[in-house]
């Protein structure tokens, strides 16, 4: 579903160049739940940005559902995201001037999907916000805002969901709530999920965990190995 071939990223930081991602290869099969872990600045968000086509790699190729993102222009990338990729951010990034319902409606309206209104309400109900449809982001708590963001990410039923530390800005309870929803989506719809997180518990629920450090893959854990690691961490 997602394939990265020798992908690297070098960014300009003032007058200097900074390598945020050294050349790496990665394949995420359809329906897999992949967690990316690592300390701040290890390249997690950069990797997610490249997969979403929000950023272009300095070298290598990013292929999503058979399409080479490096060959697409900004508008084609936007269309691809609209159709195939949902994105959840640490800081929610809802449109402040739109209500919860309208925020969820936007991707469907862009894609010109019929029955968008009913589907938006259904999605909000699914994330437990059917009572808050006409509230503006400023009238919602952090957890609620993130649930709206999640509903928005799922609006066009994308086969891929990317989440950048979705619980990083939430308290434990709200964080758990979001994790449950994510897992539910993964199980029910078979959505391919790539999730960057510091949260060991959340990462532990993934099929595979990728640990980044200094822009390189430090190690990869498959699910079987992950569970004890997580249990050990939670015991400690």
């Amino acid at each position: 579903m997602i394939r990265l071939e020798s992908v690297s990223k070098v960014v300009q930081s003032g007058p200097e160049e900074l390598t945020s991602l050294h050349p790496l290869d990665l394949e995420v099969p359809k329906g897999q739940f992949l967690s990316i872990m690592g300390p701040s600045g290890s390249g997690k968000s950069t990797l997610l940005g490249l997969v979403a086509g929000l950023d272009a790699p300095t070298s290598g190729r990013v292929v999503v559902d058979g399409e080479d993102l490096t060959a697409l222009d900004e508008d084609a990338l936007a269309r691809l995201r609209g159709a195939k990729i949902g994105f959840v951010f640490q800081f929610f990034h809802l449109l402040p001037s739109l209500t919860a319902l309208e925020n969820v409606l936007v991707p469907m309206e862009i894609a010109g999907i019929a029955g968008a209104d009913a589907r938006s309400r259904e999605l909000l109900r699914e994330v437990g916000l059917s009572e808050r449809t006409h509230h503006y982001p400023s009238q919602l708590s952090g957890g609620e805002q993130q649930r709206v963001a999640l509903a928005r990410a799922l609006a066009n039923e994308p086969p891929i969901l990317l989440a950048d530390e979705p619980t990083g800005n939430l308290d434990a309870e709200n964080g758990r709530h979001i994790v449950e929803i994510l897992l539910g989506i993964h199980e029910r719809r078979g959505t391919t999920i790539v999730l960057a997180t510091h949260d060991q518990e959340l990462a532990g629920k993934a099929d595979r965990v990728l640990v980044l450090r200094g822009g390189r893959i430090e190690r990869v854990h498959e699910r079987a190995a992950v569970v004890p690691l997580v249990s050990a961490a939670s015991r400690g």
């Binding site: 007058p15 929000l54 936007a78 862009i110």
Partner: protein, 852 residues
């Protein structure tokens, strides 16, 4: 499209209050343009009426000898062909008048006018006792006379006077008459009689100067053709034709300057509105970066995003235009009352064309000025959501080449389109490509200068960033930090200031010019036929009787009878006569100084000594119309004596400046030795009508051979028109100043949205309100002073160009006002900066940080 419209509506619902200033800017701009259009229209309409009143008709045909059968036929045929609506006859002649009562010895020369029932087609006849004028007052040997006649002859209303062989009863006193311009020279007081009674006076048989006039009423759209056709057909007859428009020539010239100014002011207000729009949209876009990134992240294309914001701009512009229209309605309703214009009989109000024009230009300007900041949306990348810092340029200094390379070509193209559109609109509105080009060039030049001034300022103040005084240090950091407001404030304030000052400067120059033309001491009486030995006595007597200005110049009457020139060769008077107006009799003078209203264009003025060889200085039109040049020899016939004089200079004469009169030919003293000359006098008489009448009759009594022409009425008319145009200009100038100031300060105030966050952080970190305010005053004050200085420099250049090159009035720089303006700019911007900061300080830091 549905998505675009929906999103635009949703965004507007949430953010229209922040964009309030957007439609205020547009409303002020559009309102000003539409209402100025109406000012021009109403002043023009009122003046047209005035011009018609001066001529009393649309068209005047006259001859100083009886019409030949052929001429009569041509006139009838052409009038019929062009659908003249009606005609009336009038005869004007000089005649002697004396009281019927033979015991009174007084006699006086009068300017007789015999009119028919339909006279006048236009204009007002006012009687001293307030009765309305009607032709019945003249029927059956009645006469209406000017007040001077009563004093000169010592008669009263009801008395009878003799004119020629007939006797007339004075039935009223005319204080204001229509058709004054029919004859420019009034040889004595006016007397109106019935055309039917003219024959009985017998003066048609012996009077030397009889002018037979036909007054014509014709539709405006047929007038030009009729004049042209008549002039062509009557070229070989001794019949002249003139439309009312020519009578208003002097008025028209002033009006044209006034009009150019008003259109210019309207356009400038609109540009300032555009600057306001630009600054609002810029701030708006900066605030919307996140929303745009989100939209792009969830699948919206750049085109869709741009469309969402263009639709919003359009919607706001429409509302702004509608508001402007409402504003204009109010102003237009006030104009005739406020400016004291008589627009009763003319079409007046908001015309459909001015409304459509105003709105179209309003939309164009708001879209064009929004486009440059809006195009920035294209560059917003969704990556901003993950790493905002990666999308903004770093703080490191870039070279000019790097900057040029990073210029957005689309924005550059939009800038070029904007400038071209401005040139187009300015040329259209101010009806001069030159004005459009000058205004737009100033706009571009100033923008570039302000941009570089911003860079220089950032470098110049950089060392102060190590100052130990906190507000100064942070003011300097604010000026130079990434995403600073330096260039924005400089641009808005600098451009705004330049245009506001230029409008003020041109207004001052224009009004001063008008004032020169209508000075209080301008002569209003014209004396003729003063003999050389009467000169000193008359001057002394006139002053004693209350004249404030007396200027006597020697005059001779003469004709050009031969021209030996490089390009013009005329062998005889017959040939000279064929050259249109060259063949007429001229009033000549001699002197050894140039008057204030004259300027040498070619050749040289003679030194202050007498010369035995005749030299003459000619007026520029003689060169333009007939090709006379310096070095040509002209032969004059002066009182039967032939005199050949060499042209040694060509002069420009400011005919509007009435103080010194104007002469087509001026001789060097000495050359006219021995030719008998008389003197003409330019005198400023008493203002009070009765005193004035007495002044004239006393002088005429002592100097019976001297004729006096009273120009008061004509000058008063002119003064009235100039006063109205001046008032209109002053009002408009003030509107420009006010709206310009508002828009300008609003643009500065708009920067508050970008200031609130950092102010909140400063306060969270413990900075007192006073400290934050001091920081802002330092930053905004410096920017205001710099922008004011550059703006006022630009204003000087623009004022100079427009005054000298377009309006053709002298440029008078006012250094003190400029210095004051720079201080005012600095103070005003600092004040707004502080007020804005205080507004931000009112809110609790947390509320601002949360919204972030």
């Amino acid at each position: 499209m549905k998505f675009v419209l929906r999103m635009a509506a949703r965004e507007l619902r949430a953010s229209w209050t922040r964009l309030l200033f957007f439609f205020v800017s547009i409303a002020v701009g559009v309102g000003a343009m539409i209402s100025l259009g109406s000012v021009i229209q109403s002043v023009r309409a009122a003046l047209m009426k005035e011009s018609k009143g001066i001529t009393a008709a649309d068209l005047l045909i006259w001859a100083d000898r009886p019409y030949s059968d052929n001429a009569r036929y041509i006139v009838d045929e052409k009038l019929q062909k062009h659908g003249a609506l009606s005609t009336t006859r009038s005869v004007e002649s000089t005649a002697m008048a004396r009281p019927e009562d033979e015991s009174r010895k007084a006699t006086t020369m009068v300017e007789l006018r015999a009119v028919e029932e339909a006279f006048p087609f236009y204009g007002r006849m006012e009687l001293a006792d307030g009765r309305p004028y009607e032709h019945d007052l003249l029927k059956g040997r009645g006469a209406l006379v000017r007040p001077e006649l009563l004093t000169r002859l010592g008669v009263r209303v009801g008395d009878r006077i003799r004119i020629g062989e007939a006797s007339f009863e004075i039935r009223g006193v005319v204080v204001r008459e229509a058709g004054r311009s029919l004859s420019m020279f009034t040889m004595g007081p006016r007397v109106f009689i019935d055309h039917a009674d003219l024959e009985t006076t017998g003066i048609l048989d012996y009077a030397s100067r009889i002018r037979r006039q036909i007054l014509v009423r014709v539709d405006e759209d047929k007038l030009e053709d009729l004049v042209w056709d008549l002039e062509g057909a009557l070229a070989n007859e001794f019949v002249r034709v003139r439309s009312y428009k020519e009578a208003g020539d002097q008025l028209a010239r002033r009006l044209n300057r006034g009009e150019s100014y008003l259109s210019l002011a309207g356009f400038v207000i609109l540009i300032l509105g555009g600057v306001g729009v630009w600054s609002v949209v810029r701030v708006f876009v900066a605030q919307k970066l996140k929303s745009i990134a989100v939209l792009k992240c969830v699948g919206a294309t750049t085109r869709q995003v741009l469309a969402i914001y263009v639709v919003q701009v359009l919607a706001l512009s429409v509302v702004g235009c509608a508001l402007g229209l409402g504003l204009a309605r109010l102003v237009v309703a006030w104009i005739p009352v406020g400016l004291g214009l008589d627009v009763k009989d003319v079409e007046y109000g908001l015309t459909a064309s001015s409304v459509v024009q105003g709105i179209a230009i309003g939309l164009l300007v708001s879209v064009l000025f929004s486009l440059i900041p809006l195009l920035h949306l294209r560059l917003v990348r969704p990556l901003w959501l993950l790493r905002p810092e990666s999308v903004q340029p770093g703080p490191h200094r870039r070279s000019l080449r790097e900057r040029l390379a990073s210029l957005d070509r689309m924005q550059l193209a939009a800038g070029v389109i904007l400038v071209l559109a401005l040139v187009g609109v300015a040329s259209w509105q101010a009806e001069s490509l030159l004005i459009g080009a000058y205004v737009s060039a100033t706009f571009v030049g100033l923008s570039v200068a302000l941009h570089f001034a911003g860079s220089l300022l950032i470098r110049a103040v950089a060392p102060l960033s190590r100052s130990s005084y906190f507000p100064l240090r942070h003011a300097v950091l604010n000026v130079s930090r990434p995403g600073n407001q330096t260039r924005v404030i400089l641009l808005a304030v600098g451009v705004g200031f330049c245009f506001v000052l230029a409008i003020r400067g041109i207004q001052t120059n224009l009004l001063e010019q008008f004032a020169v033309e209508l000075r209080e001491d301008a002569p209003d009486l014209f004396f003729l036929d003063i003999q050389a030995d009467q000169k000193d006595l008359l001057e002394e007597r006139a002053r004693r009787l209350g004249a404030s200005t007396v200027k006597l110049v020697p005059v001779l009457r003469g004709r050009v009878v031969r021209v030996e020139g490089r390009t013009l060769q005329l062998e005889s008077y017959q040939e000279v006569r064929e050259r249109d107006w060259l063949g007429r009799e001229y009033t000549l003078t001699y002197r050894n100084h140039l008057e204030d209203n004259e300027r040498i264009l070619e050749g040289a003025w003679w030194p202050e000594s007498h010369s035995s060889e005749p030299e003459v200085s000619i007026e520029e039109n003689l060169k333009e119309d007939f090709g006379m040049e310096v070095g040509d020899v002209l032969t004059f016939d002066i009182m039967g004596r032939q005199l050949a004089a060499r042209v040694t200079s060509i002069r420009e004469v400011e005919w509007a400046d009435a103080r010194n009169g104007g002469f087509m030919f001026v001789f060097r003293p000495g050359g006219l030795e021995g030719v008998p000359s008389s003197y003409a006098g330019f005198v400023k008489g008493p203002n009070d009508p009765m005193e004035r009448a007495r002044f004239q009759s006393d002088l005429v009594e002592d100097f019976y051979n001297v004729s006096i022409v009273d120009l008061r009425d004509i000058l008063d008319d002119l003064a009235q028109v100039v006063d109205r145009v001046s008032l209109a200009i002053t009002v408009v100038g003030s509107v420009a100043l006010l709206s310009g100031g508002l828009i300008l300060l609003g643009s500065v105030a708009m920067t508050k949205y970008q200031r609130s966050y950092e102010t909140a952080i400063f306060r969270t970190l413990g900075a007192s309100r006073r400290r934050v305010a001091a920081m802002m005053v330092l930053e905004y004050g410096t920017l205001g002073a710099l922008a004011g200085a550059i703006g006022s420099l630009g204003a000087q250049v623009l004022t100079f160009l427009l005054s000298e090159r377009v309006l053709e009035i002298p440029f008078r720089p006012d250094v003190l006002a400029q210095a004051g303006a720079i201080l005012a700019a600095s103070f005003a911007v600092a004040l707004v900066g502080m007020l804005v900061t205080l507004d931000v300080l009112r809110h609790k830091p947390l509320s601002i940080l949360r919204v972030g």
